[in-house]
């Protein structure tokens, strides 16, 4: 499948199809459903310096072509991750992206440093989540103010030798400004997009459907927004590697993101209902690239043309 091989900045990937943070846990549970070695890579559940308990229930709710979640960034913490989860991940031979976050400036840097120090070369990317809308403290400001994101990215990239990919939130007016801020601060690329903040109400109980009131919207519903942001960022910063995600469920979806400018993509929500989706999507993408005459993924990247302009309008038809 060399047609699928591609480079994400300095990284070589055997395929542009990865799985997304929070939707693939630490991968073990998926072993029973698919051959994990066929992935381009995978992003882990977000890791913080200390283990975190999650949010109260209900934590998830389905909406039209999408789902809301407010898991609360529950995770095992750096120490347990390094000792219990990473060895398995490293054995897969695919690109390992460790998604991480802190609750403030210092814990972000601390988390990146501890992951680096304990990684022993087994982590390919640190995917920094500055976008989770569920954490009251810290999170959301990092992701919406370019200057803050810049400072944070700079501090984190200086604390580690592992490439840092910054995962941005779509809950902003100007995604390009955010991408530019983190790119200039040393990010190896950006992941676009995290969930969009949303809400649903149970009118019979007069209560929010999610215990924390708001949750993150994912799934096919958000694909048009994700694709637009990938395209905006690629057009403004064509050299910046982009990992695209948001509602991808087919090879055709993946190719849309690649044509919009993504170098690789991640599958999130679809893994819940179809745990082997990443293999199907990989095969569909391979077949589609072939059918459309692309030699490889790079040839398709950003290849979007604009529509032919209409002939000029005239009051008199030239044909009368």
């Amino acid at each position: 499948m060399s047609r699928l091989a591609c480079d994400f900045g300095p990284l070589s990937l055997q395929s542009p199809i990865l799985t997304a943070s929070g939707c693939f846990a630490y991968a073990q549970q998926f072993e029973q459903f698919l051959d994990l070695k066929r992935l381009g890579g995978l992003s882990t559940k977000g890791i913080s310096p200390l283990p975190r308990r999650g949010n109260p229930v209900p934590r998830i709710y389905e909406t039209a072509s999408g789902m809301l979640n407010s898991i609360g960034l529950e995770n095992v913490g750096v120490e347990a991750f390094l000792s219990e989860k990473l060895p398995f991940l490293a054995s897969l031979g695919v690109s390992i992206w460790v998604n991480f976050f802190g609750t403030d400036f210092e814990t972000y840097v601390q988390c990146a440093r501890e992951l680096s120090e304990g990684s022993a070369g087994r982590i390919d990317v640190l995917e920094m989540n500055i976008s989770c809308p569920n954490i009251k403290k810290g999170g959301i400001e990092f992701g919406t103010v370019p200057e803050v994101a810049h400072k944070l990215t700079r501090a984190v990239t200086e604390a580690t030798d592992i490439p840092v990919v910054v995962k941005l939130t779509p809950n902003v007016a100007d995604i390009v400004g955010m991408a530019q801020a983190v790119a200039e601060a040393g990010a190896a690329g950006v992941s676009l997009i995290n969930t969009i903040t949303g809400m649903a109400i149970d009118v019979r109980k007069r209560r929010p459907r999610i215990a924390t009131t708001y949750g993150g919207l994912s799934g096919p519903a958000i694909k048009p927004v994700a694709l637009r942001m990938v395209h905006q960022v690629h057009r403004a910063l064509p050299e910046l590697p982009i990992c695209g995600m948001g509602g991808i469920i087919s090879g055709e979806d993946a190719l849309e993101f690649i044509m919009a400018g993504a170098t690789c993509v991640q599958l999130g929500t679809i893994n819940f209902s179809e745990p082997s989706a990443s293999v199907r999507v990989t095969e569909e993408l391979d077949a589609l690239l072939d059918e459309l005459g692309f030699e490889n993924v790079a040839a398709a990247r950003g290849c979007l043309e604009s529509l032919d302009p209409e002939p000029p309008h005239q009051e008199e038809s030239p044909w009368r």
Binding site: C23, Q32, P56, V57, M67, N69
Partner: protein, 280 residues
């Protein structure tokens, strides 16, 4: 009791996702329906323990994304099993309309089952509504293992129409105690009333006891209260909104007492010790 032991010691096999078709969709009273499902090839479903569940999803396009959880009602062999359901929302509505031949995607068997009995314990099964399936399977399995006399099924509903599929259980020789709120079948009132009587009687006899329950939350809370008050061990099969069913979305958290504040309904459960559940 070799057979018994073998049945309960079958350890969870790795779940698989496979295609099934609806072999038969039988409308029952009270809006319940039974789906008999058939897989084209061998699946791990034969290994299902009572209390385990499957995630089912039809070819529903992009709108209803996730599967819906259903306890296994019955297993015929590695290709044939059944579930019992009732219409709640869109997913169960679509399933209720599925005709013979409709293809579904199934993931399972998932979760833990009810624990095996110790010694000659009497198992009091307490079921309500769509909580029947795991206890139905338990009772059938016990009967097959020659232990029908060690099991009593308490089964509650609002009225007669809510009491379904009792023939198989009775014909298997399992004692059935029915209660309906309107008295249209069996005892009038909540099923926990005859349950309490039996608990008292059995305790007076000195018989080792336990309760296994699945049904609406108020029923489970009542069972838990009885268990704590009388010091009878009880296991509850819980329902929590599920995203994946196999432990990766972390959506199905169940508040518990213990080292960590939450366990997961799909992997740590759906069966939990009544004492560990952190309910108000």
């Amino acid at each position: 009791m070799d057979l018994w032991a073998r049945l309960w010691q079958s350890r969870p096999v790795p779940a698989a996702q496979f295609r099934v078709i609806v072999e038969r969709n039988t409308a029952l009273t009270g809006g319940y329906f039974q789906l008999d499902l058939e897989a084209p090839v061998s699946t791990p479903i034969a290994e299902t323990r009572a209390g385990q569940f499957v995630m089912l999803r039809g070819e529903w396009g992009r709108d209803l994304l996730n599967g819906r959880a259903f306890s296994v009602l019955d297993v015929r062999d590695d290709r044939h099993f059944s579930v019992l359901a009732k219409v709640f929302g869109r997913g169960t509505a679509l399933l209720s309309e599925a005709e013979a031949g409709t293809p579904l995607t199934c993931t399972g068997p998932l979760g833990t089952g009810f624990p095996e009995p110790e010694g000659d314990e009497l198992s009091l099964l307490v079921a309500g509504g769509v909580g029947l399936p795991p206890l139905h399977l338990y009772a059938r399995r016990a009967a097959e293992a020659g232990a029908a006399k060690d099991v009593v099924l308490f089964y509650g509903g609002r009225s007669e129409a809510d009491i379904v599929l009792t023939e198989a259980i009775e014909s298997a020789g399992v004692e059935l105690v029915v209660a309906t709120e309107d008295g249209s079948r069996g005892h009038k009132g909540f099923v926990t009333v005859p349950l309490l009587e039996r608990l008292r009687a059995a305790k007076a006899e000195g018989r080792a006891l336990r309760m296994l329950s699945c049904g609406p939350t108020p029923m489970l809370q009542a069972v838990r209260k009885l268990a704590l008050e009388l010091g009878v061990p009880a296991h509850l099969c819980l329902e929590e909104q599920m995203g994946c069913g196999f432990g990766v979305c972390l959506g199905c958290a169940v508040p518990v007492y213990g080292e960590l504040p939450y366990k997961y309904c799909c992997t740590d459960g759906p069966v939990f010790d009544a004492r560990e559940v952190r309910w108000s």
